[in-house]
């Protein structure tokens, strides 16, 4: 019977033990909120514009700009979890395995 592989709580423990949001997640959230604000502001200005050329201009600046900000923000938030998983839980598992095997070898 070899050394036990599990039991240290390396897997069941929290992904991000510090509980502080990662910079990537915070930046992504900020970009998403900014994108929504830009979209809403563009919609208000577009609604009030009477000339079609002005409306198209607002569509480009606020519409496409807002969508671009939201796309970027949502991607950053979505990928922050995977990044925390690698740096938190998976790194903890790797060090636990190495400690377990190293300790048993001595």
């Amino acid at each position: 019977m070899g050394p036990p592989l599990g039991g240290g709580g390396a897997v069941v423990g929290p992904v991000n033990p510090t509980g502080t949001p990662s910079p990537r997640r915070a930046f992504g959230l900020a970009l998403t909120v900014l994108g929504v604000v830009v979209l809403l502001a563009g919609w208000v200005r577009l609604r009030d514009a009477e000339i079609l050329a002005d409306q198209v201009s607002y569509l480009v600046s606020s519409g496409i700009g807002g969508v671009a900000l939201i796309m970027t923000g949502v991607t950053l938030v979505a990928s922050a979890g995977a990044r925390e998983e690698v740096r938190g839980r998976l790194s903890r598992i790797e060090s636990t395995i190495r400690d377990t095997r190293g300790g048993a070898a001595q």
């Binding site: 390396a10 897997v11 480009v60 690698v86 790194s91 070898a105």
Partner: protein, 254 residues
């Protein structure tokens, strides 16, 4: 063969570097489109700027963000490689035994195939968008320019479909490998953290965890429901609508 640190960095992080380049280029194109559209009073010309710079910028941005997520997947893949090496390198036997070495070659093929799908989608959508831009530019007529814009938007949708076809299998391969590599470790860990969940012979008892809104049931202690408000219930009381968790496999005896 000697490689400079810069070459090594480019070789290891080419997808992340290319992602940042594409994101910056996409943002720049959107700004150019906005400057162009706001600088002309002619709606047909404005629509042409939207079809070229606006939609083109979103296209580059989508490709860049897809590569950024792919680079994160690659990081996780490398970490799983390191865990696999730690499990399988010479040393004392482990209890429970680590799984047999997965076929990492097939995974590499999957990533290459995914990149091919992304590239093909990008080329096809770029061709459609260029046709749309050419159609809309210089026509001087709003109707024709709007047709070109519609074509460009269709190209963007093709690109987004390619991004989805690239990222979703990549995520699935990663989850499957993680579950394959770590399942036994996860179960041993979970059993130690929640000892009341296991019976005296070491096998899991009949109790499983369910939660509102979840389509799977779990062993007590499964990390997939860590932090989720769950209800403990008998395995026999679970309806056919719920499936067992892929990670902790509550339907199997250990």
């Amino acid at each position: 063969m000697n490689r400079t640190p810069l070459k090594l960095l480019v070789r290891a992080e080419w997808d992340r570097i290319l992602a940042f380049v594409l994101i910056a280029a996409g943002a720049a194109l959107v700004v150019v489109a906005w400057a162009g559209a706001s600088g002309t009073p002619f709606v047909a010309d404005q629509l042409s700027y939207v079809a070229s710079g606006g939609v083109g910028g979103l296209f580059l941005l989508a490709l860049g963000l897809a590569l950024l997520m792919s680079a994160d997947h690659h990081d996780e893949w490398r970490k799983l490689d390191a865990i696999e090496r730690a499990l399988t390198e010479p040393g004392p036997e482990l209890q429970p035994a680590p799984p047999a070495r997965p076929e990492s070659g097939r995974a590499a093929e999957g990533r290459a195939r995914g990149l091919s799908v992304l590239s093909l989608g990008a080329v096809v959508s770029a061709v459609i968008m260029v046709i749309g831009w050419v159609h809309s530019s210089g026509s001087g007529r709003q109707g024709v320019a709007a047709e070109g814009l519609t074509l460009s938007l269709s190209g963007l949708l093709v690109a987004l479909a390619g991004v989805a076809a690239f990222l979703m299998p990549s995520r699935s391969r990663l989850a499957a490998r993680r579950a394959h590599l770590l399942r036994r470790f996860v179960l041993a860990d979970a059993a130690a953290v929640t000892p009341t969940a296991t019976s005296t012979n070491g096998a899991s008892g009949d109790a499983v965890l369910v939660a509102d809104g979840l389509s799977r049931y779990h062993r007590p202690g499964c990390p997939a429901v860590s932090g989720v408000a769950t209800t403990r219930t008998a395995r026999a009381a679970i309806g056919a609508a719920l499936r067992p968790c892929d990670l902790c496999e509550p339907g199997e005896q250990r």
